[in-house]
Each structure stands twice: as structure tokens, then as C-alpha cells.
Symmetry: C2
Subunit: 341 residues, 2 copies
DNA sequence: CGCGATGTTTTAACCGGTTTAGTGGCTGTC
DNA sequence: GACAGCCACTAAACCGGTTAAAACATCGCG
């Protein structure tokens, strides 16, 4: 038995038809007698023929792959709970369609733009996911210029020609703040992510406005960077205030868990002296001591929805609608309690 | 100006030569006058021509991409500190060579094999990284059968036709145990990973033999699964022993941090009542309270080395040697101290 | 001057699909 | 019985590169 994989010509000769007919049969084109189609498919089946991606790619000018550019510092990326689950969700859609996921990790800045350009110039992918959206994100214009289809993860603030897959950060943040308010907290602080990111400001403005609706001013808003180290620093600054907060809401779990450690290192007991809440419900959130009150989203479904939507764009459907996912849910654990008397 | 990207024919006509000549010039083949080469490269440059990956792929039967199949439960994968940094290291090599990284996330079992088969049948990649090596790993035979080149991350126990990139887990484990011994601990337990994994047993046997060398029996070895939930359970079991350990060595940070939480929840003070050590030096290890004594490897360099080695295999070099990376280093933090009197 | 050797460049086939134009057979109609 | 019209299918060009073989100069040498 030959080790070479069969080509369309092998199938054609075995079925006694032309290459073109095989192609028609495979792609379900009309204009072939159904008996012929059966004969061709049977021959293909017997030979175990699968059309070559490479040849198809060349003739139809498609890559049959989608791209994800992750613009993060490796160290930061290292413990991000979002991407792995998101990617798994994307994969669940792609593998069913015989597509592949091409990953590109770039460090921010110069290289970021280069990453997209490379993906476009090499024609490695048919479309990309735009994650970690920033305000007036320059990548949107870049992708338009490159002619690369995309979906944005969450809604950009400028106009965007791309559909958005949205997981609203606000309801989760609002739920956390209201939870703390109902416990009796009045001195609440926030550790935010970098304001350049849309999801960071979405969380911090939701924080402020929820407090405002209750007639309360935030104790402080510390801008940080989503890293554990940043969480520590921000927490220390908050605890050194003349009148420190009785509760801190962090923009992600990583900063929250680090903040928890900082509070404990400073001799505080959580939640008796200080309540702490995170955002993401990462795996460790449940298992640190005390368990972290946080907000749970579903990055797997996010990935699924994003892949489906991007495929619609890539397939040329016009006016692909935005997709709104169910917002993140509050998960109450032991790290939040009534403020000290 | 035309929006279409130039083809090799455009370059050829602009330089006044044939397609073949352009191809020769591009690939640095001998047999062209250097003046001609210059002329061709100049023309290519003016047109901004970059050869089409798709066409090249078809004619030379290469994908110009490498594959990584991650066989993990998304939930487990979520907070693994290894892969993101590893991937970043891989990328740093691939992007310089114009290659892409194709990611495939599969759930273990049936689907795992299917994942590799798909990658091979679709000819999406020229080679793959074999991670999370298991004892008598069936994937090695599978890859041989599929004719897909590979490198293994760490050394398999059977014979393997593939080069291995090795980061020896033992020195780090030995260092942790010796550190605990030198602090005066004599009742030390281990929380191991699933014994099917090569790196899990490497760590546990290093643990046992280091203790044995000091003439000490381990208090217990709890087999767990590298997850935080598993770390909690194993820790509880250890703490319920009639004579509980004064120190626990975990096979990874995730279980260790969860174990830290479990110990604190049980009313113990770390490190006064119990010393705890992890493995990986994940980002949070430094920032939990108390900071986690652990072992630091360099997954970024691991990725670099693996990509370089796999490329040698893919390029057809014979007898590609194994690569041995510097072993992980002990990082002493506050979670380990002398045992209680 | 004719010949082979050497160096340079072109020609054309090939990779494995898709797609357009075209061909041959059959039916229906006047 | 000739012709239009339709159906089912084939032939061949095409996607954009690579590459083996052929062609063409140029040169050295007997």
C-alpha cells in the first residue's frame, strides 16, 4: 500500500470522472447527477481522501485559520485566567469546521502592530480576534488598512466596522459594590486596571456610579496594572491612608489575591478588618484563605461566540450582529463580611 | 495603485527576468550572476513583494508552522503558569523565521489522538511539541505512525525517535527537601501530581530519595492532580493524620497555594505550625501571604529551546541532540521555617 | 575554427485543488 | 428532420510559487 496520500486525481480516476467533477461533488455543487455524486463520494471514501488544505488555500485564497494576537508581557500573561479558557472555546468551534487557530504573542508597542502586519502579509489567517480592547484602539484602523476581518471582544468606543462580542463588565461590578453596601460598608476603595483598557474603565466607572447612586464617595481609586505586584502596591497605598477603606474592590482576581496577601502581611484579618473582592473567578479564588468573593464570567462561551461571529464575517455575511453574552455573576465567599464596628 | 499584492511574475517582469530567476535569487541559490541577483532583489523591494506562503506551501509541501497540542481540561489549563510563558518563548523563535504557531486544545482521551491526527492529516504543521509527557506515552508511537516530527518536553521513559528538551525536575525538588531538612524538619509529606505524568513521578521519586539519603521516611505521599481543588483535599488528608507533617512539599504552586489556604482555614499558622513549599514560582507565589517558598524554572527559555530543536528536526538535520536546560532554582520565601518545638 | 566546458538564464512541468468555458448527448418542438 | 435548449460532464486555465531540464552565451583550448 502506498504511503502517499491520495489526490483529487486519484479519486477522479477511480470514480471514472474528471477532477472537476470530484471537486463539484465534494463541495455539493449542483449540476451533477446524484448517482455520479454517490459514486465519487464512495471512491473518495475508499481511498480515504481528504482534500489538501494547501491546494485549497492557494486556489480559493483562504487560510482556513483564525488568528489571535495576544499583546501582553509574558510575565503578565503567565497567570491570566482568561485566555486559556477563551482559546478552548474558540477551538471547540474551529475544530468542528476543520479550521486552525494561529497564535501570536507579541510584546506591546512597536511589535504589536508588526504582529498584525505579519499575520496579514503572510496571509496566515482569514480573520483575527481583537482582545484587550483599548480606548481609541489604533488596531481597529490598522486592521481596516490591512483588510483583515475581525471581531472585537467587547465594544470599542469609537466607530468600528467589526461586530463585537460583548460580555458586559458592569453588572458584575455593580453586584459586588451592592453586596458590600448591603453588608454595611461605606468606606470602599477600588483598585483599577490601566485606564487605557476599555474593560478597566468599564469596571471603574461602574464602581463609581454604583457608589454614587447610594450617595457615597469612593475612598480612593488606585490605578494599577492587573498584575499581582501592582495589586500589592495599590493595596499598601490604600492601607496607609489616614482613613483606610473597610472594603476594596479589585478589577481582577490576581490583584485581589495579592492584595489579600498584602493585607494579611500588614496584620489585618480578612474579612473581619477588611473585605476584599476580585473579578474573574480564577481557579485559586475559591481556594485561598479566606475564599475570595468575586465575579464569574464564562470565557469558554466567550470564545465560542467570538469564533462563530468571526466566521460569519469571514464567510462574507453582511451586517453580522453583535452578540451579547450573559454578564458575569457575583460569587460570594468568605473574603467579604460586615465592616468592623 | 493596485491593491493586489504583487506576485513573483510581477517581480520577474519588472526585473526583466523569468519567474525561475526570481525564485533562485530569493532563495539564494547559486548559479545567478550577482548583478542579476541585485537587480531582482531591488525589483522585489520596490514592489514590496513577499512570496506567498500558500504557494510555497503547496509546492514545497511544508506548512511553515509548528503545532502545540494542549491536552488539558480547560478548567485545569486556566491557571497553569507554564504554557503562556512557554508559548511566548516558542514565538520568539518562530516569528523571526516567519513561521506560525498552531494551537490545538483537546480534552484528554479519545479526542487527544484525534487532535494529533487532524493536525497531521490537514498537514497544518511541520512538527509538534509533545508536552506533559506520560509514562509509556502512546502519543510517541502515534506520531511515528503519522510521520509527524516532534520534540518531547523532557525525556520519555521508553525509546523515542525524537530529541528531548530537558528541564530536570529533580535538582529543584532535592533543593526544596534539603532546605526543609536543614531547617530541622523530620516529618515531611509530599503532594504529588498524577503518577501517569513523567514530571510528576520525577518530582516524587526525587522527594523520596532525598529523604532516604538523610535516613528519613516520608510521612506520607498524597497523590493529587495538580489542581487547586486537589491540593486542598490532599492537604486536609495530611493534616488529619494522627501525626501530621511539619512540612509539605507540593508538586506545583497551584496545589501549594490552595494547600496554604487549607492549612490556614484549619487554624494553622504558616510557617510557624507548618512549612509549605511549591514548584513553578508562578506569579502569585511571591504575593500570597506568607510568600511561597518554591522552585523557579524558566518556561520562556524552555519554549525557545524547544522551538529551535524542533526546527532542526523539521529541517531534516539528523541526530539532533537533546538539549538540557539549567535546572530550576530554589526560591526561599516566608512559607518555610523551622518546625514547631 | 570547431569543440567541449562552464556559467547564466529560460522553459515548462509540477504541487492539488477550483472554476470557467465548452462539448456531447438527449429531449422536445415545429 | 433540423434546431433550440437543457443537462451532465470534461478540458484546461488558474492560484503563485519551486525546480529539473533544456537552451543559450561565452570562453578556453587544441
Amino acid at each position: 500500500m502506498s504511503k502517499e496520500r491520495p489526490t483529487i486525481a486519484d479519486v477522479a480516476s477511480r470514480a471514472g470522472v474528471s477532477k472537476g467533477a470530484v471537486s463539484f461533488a465534494l463541495n455539493g455543487r449542483p449540476g451533477l447527477a446524484s448517482a455520479t455524486v454517490d459514486k465519487i463520494l464512495a471512491a473518495a471514501d475508499e481511498l480515504g481522501w481528504r482534500p489538501s488544505n494547501r491546494a485549497r488555500s492557494l486556489s480559493v485564497s483562504k487560510a482556513f485559520a483564525l488568528g489571535l494576537v495576544i499583546t501582553r508581557d509574558p510575565a503578565v500573561l503567565s497567570s491570566d485566567p482568561f485566555f486559556p479558557a477563551f482559546i478552548a472555546g474558540v477551538e471547540s468551534v474551529l475544530s468542528a469546521r476543520g479550521q486552525a487557530l494561529v497564535l501570536q504573542v507579541v510584546t506591546a508597542g512597536e511589535e504589536e502592530e508588526a504582529g498584525y502586519r505579519r499575520l496579514a502579509q503572510d496571509a496566515r489567517v482569514d480573520g483575527v480576534f481583537l482582545s484587550d480592547l483599548r480606548h481609541d484602539d489604533p488596531r481597529i484602523d490598522l486592521l481596516v488598512e490591512l483588510g483583515l476581518p475581525a471581531v472585537t471582544l467587547n465594544r470599542p468606543d469609537g466607530t468600528s466596522p467589526f461586530p463585537a462580542v460583548i460580555l458586559d463588565d458592569r453588572p458584575g461590578t455593580i453586584a459586588v459594590v451592592e453586596h458590600l453596601l448591603s453588608l454595611g460598608h461605606r468606606r470602599i476603595a477600588h483598585v483599577a486596571g490601566p485606564p487605557a483598557f476599555v474593560h478597566a474603565t468599564a469596571r471603574s466607572t461602574a464602581f463609581v456610579s454604583t457608589l454614587a447612586a447610594a450617595g457615597i464617595e469612593p475612598v480612593a481609586i488606585e490605578t494599577s496594572d492587573f498584575t499581582a505586584a501592582g495589586g500589592i502596591d495599590a493595596t499598601r497605598r490604600l492601607l496607609e491612608l489616614p482613613e483606610p477603606p473597610t472594603a476594596i474592590v479589585y478589577a481582577n482576581d490576581r490583584m485581589a489575591i495579592a492584595g489579600l496577601g498584602a493585607a494579611q502581611a500588614a496584620g489585618l484579618t480578612v474579612p473581619d478588618d477588611l473585605s476584599i473582592a476580585g473579578f474573574d473567578d480564577s481557579e485559586l479564588a475559591e481556594y485561598v484563605h479566606p475564599g475570595l468573593t468575586t465575579v464569574r464570567a464564562d470565557p469558554f462561551r466567550f470564545g465560542e461566540a467570538a469564533a462563530q461571529t468571526l466566521n460569519q464575517v469571514v464567510d462574507g455575511e453582511s451586517d453580522v450582529p453583535d452578540v451579547e453574552l450573559p454578564p458575569a455573576q457575583l460569587v460570594v465567599r468568605r473574603s467579604t463580611a460586615a465592616p468592623p464596628a
